[in-house]
Symmetry: C3
């Protein structure tokens, strides 16, 4: 990126005041970290203090009454957030262009089904026998799509991803690098002093519009399906056990783990580092705070829960408060004891 304040103003349909239109711009950043050769934006009154001290070369603003350090150019626009977004979209690091075809260094097994003119298979990717890929989908470099797995249309499968045998990925699904879909569930029977493997012969079915973060793993079902519902977004390093059924439009934040056979409703939010025990059921639109440990089912929809064991937010807060007051309580008991002794 190498442009000027004036050209930025032109791009976003704004007008410049208080600075040099020829000033060079080489990047964009938030008010707090922006440098002389970067453009920033003022989109929320709560950042007024940061605006007053910014080192940015230029700031997009939708408000006229703003104070910036001397020499900082203001670019007046209607909506600073949207104008900034336009700059990011123009100058940001975009995913590489969709290269139609199958790389010569990719491996394609027997009986695969796809239109080579409508998909992109990157170098060193491996498609085992019987793989199906819908049009508009890209398979990242060094990814492995195992036997008879199905990838829908317009999917972005990142590099170094593994989709195992027979798993089904819907349309418009984004899978980030390092993700493993369809490894065996963790199931053993203890017999003769050993843990004997229970065969895991089901699949994972990922519905449309799902996004799965880097290095997350979703286990195949013991039988039947592990399901990730439509529109659900999963962050990095999440663990989803065998036979889980995750509803639609859920948010599952980083490092959360969900044990086997748990059923999660629609629009459920699990914040970072939650743990959910197995064979539970969580109702629609429930929300669980960071690091909640959920060890029993929640049947009532819509509540907010917290803690380990997870309980309604209000109750958790009350208990935390009581624990904080423990020192005070101890002093009071001591005082009572002293008083009774004196008497």
């Amino acid at each position: 990126m190498k442009t000027t304040i004036g050209e930025i103003a032109e791009l976003v349909g704004g007008t410049v005041s208080g600075g040099d239109s020829d000033g060079e711009i080489r990047g964009f950043a938030s008010l707090e970290v922006a440098q002389q050769d970067q453009v920033s934006f003022f989109g929320n009154e709560k950042y007024a203090a940061q605006l007053g001290e910014t080192a940015a070369g230029a700031v997009l603003t939708g408000t006229t009454e703003v104070k910036v350090p001397d020499g900082v150019a203001l670019i007046h626009v209607e909506n600073a957030i949207m104008a900034f977004d336009a700059i990011i979209r123009k100058y940001g690091v975009k995913p590489p262009a969709f290269t139609v075809g199958v790389s010569e260094s990719a491996f394609v097994g027997a009986d695969c089904t796809f239109d080579p003119d409508k998909i992109s298979v990157s170098p060193n990717a491996t498609l085992m026998d019987g793989v199906m890929i819908g049009k508009g989908s890209r398979i990242g470099a060094n990814s492995v799509i195992s036997n008879n797995a199905t990838i829908g249309e317009n999917c972005e499968i990142g590099p170094n991803v593994t989709v195992r045998e027979g798993c089904i990925i819907g349309d418009n699904v984004i899978i980030h690098p390092g993700v493993v879909v369809g490894a065996d569930g963790f199931g053993f029977e203890f017999a003769g002093g050993k843990h004997v493997k229970i065969e895991q012969l089901g699949i994972v079915r990922v519905e449309n519009d799902v996004e799965i973060g880097a290095n997350t793993s979703i286990d195949r079902a013991r039988f039947g399906e592990t399901v990730i519902g439509e529109g659900t977004k999963i962050d990095n390093l999440v663990q989803i056990g065998h036979n889980c059924v995750i509803g639609k439009h859920c948010i599952i934040v980083a490092q959360t783990g969900i044990s086997g056979s748990t059923r999660i409703g629609n629009y459920v939010t699990l914040a970072a580092q939650c743990g959910v025990a197995g064979h539970l059921s969580l109702a629609d639109q429930t929300t669980f705070g960071g690091r909640s440990g959920i060890i029993s089912s929640v049947n009532e929809p819509g509540g907010t829960y917290f803690g380990y064991p997870a309980r309604p937010l209000k109750e958790d807060r009350r208990q935390s408060m009581r624990i904080k007051q423990l020192g005070n309580l101890m002093s009071r008991v001591k005082a009572l004891e002293a008083k009774l002794k004196d008497d």
Copy 2:
């Protein structure tokens, strides 16, 4: 899978009552989620309620006195669980056939030792110099076996696995995708205002019959060996630090982390999301509940522990109970104070 209720009955040696033997069956599922074209099973009295409302087309049962909705066929067998298992084994998604030989797109370095007619090396796999692979073992697509590493017999190394230099994998070991065996331990000395790397020159030795879940990482020893004992089963996203010695037949559930140099006995169970500090020792047959934080050694075998810091289950329960009663305790102290004021 496309068959009929009658053919399923024949497969499991059962007899049909109360439904149409010609009814089409396209899959199998638990009572709760099975549909009209699926077969399910009734293997435990506690699912009687689910049986009474199932939408399955047919249900395997070893009990004669059962109530199902009208139109649901019963397939009478001696052992419903075993019969269902036979169906899963016939119609489930099986791992792909063992393809003997080394894929042309795999890379094989110098001085590797294996019988190419008795192993399977998948496409785009990389065997660096000096690798040894025992007969009956499969190396998954895009996996990397680094210099002088040894893989035993009848191992299943999944796709995108990394086994680093000199590490030793026993026989009948299953390693799921994304696993890293033998990355450097996390060891630094603080000197001159920097963290200076301590070279990690040991290996990881994985004994026979071990299974390691997706995206788990096991660090190589500073010197000597990090050991995973025979028959131990490790779930997904687990972290095992350098120089740990894990005993035989342990169960280590997802997202658990074990810090360096800790020694774990035989038949130890660490439930999900546990954390174990470094340089500890955990006795044989101890069990740790989900998310336990273990910060001191446990020398007595056979106990069950819970909480952070982990303590005997009974003690943990007692303490949790006391915390729950805090509100009540506060009221009682208030009452005492009021009474003493009144007096």
Copy 3:
């Protein structure tokens, strides 16, 4: 390794007493686990008991007054730790030699910039278009360096690593297998009953001398940069969210997660399994104990924190103590109640 006690003594410039110089040595280990054919060392008085029971064939020692079981050879040296280190360096499992050049089975895209005589690109690695690699750097087998990413000089990029589009890696950086640098941040806007993706168009910039552990993931910025500061060491399975700025010379231990836009100072230590909420700021030289849950900023440098929510260590200890005394407190309240009833 196959040598003798005498040859080991020669290697470290020591003299043998109390054993057979011709005794065979095939390895090295700590006092506790060393066997007859292994050499160990006695470097710290606190291991005197282990020394007294060691089964090692020989022990390096800098102290003359030591007791070992009969038949164990002592190798007298000035500094036992340094002597042992010399043995490890000679006989330990070393990383494979740096093989200059680009493997024929690697894929190299268009417009890449590097000197093929000064770098090493391993088999089945993928360099997409526009990649730059500095001299002395090695790209591990099956790793993927995406479009226009930059790798500095003398870097060790392990096998199966992914560095995504436009990300910048400094000099002397070590990245272990399975790491993902530059996957999309987890950002969505809820609109029309769906989570709509916010494009993630920034990069990750990793400064010099950083080490990143196996299967860790570091997300690219929404715009601008996610930064890992010079000399910072990150362990395995760590999650770093978009737009985080991590300072210099920090230690971030395994399975820790840092939410988006958090700024961490220099010389900060986060022990294992910590969680840091988003948009926080942690001052220089602060230390957080294992599994701390940090939900508010820490502005004062140098303190030690613990617990969830994280608080100063002293305060956390005090509170833990009070909780332990709860049973006692309850008894005392009961006694007061009884006394008041009696009166």
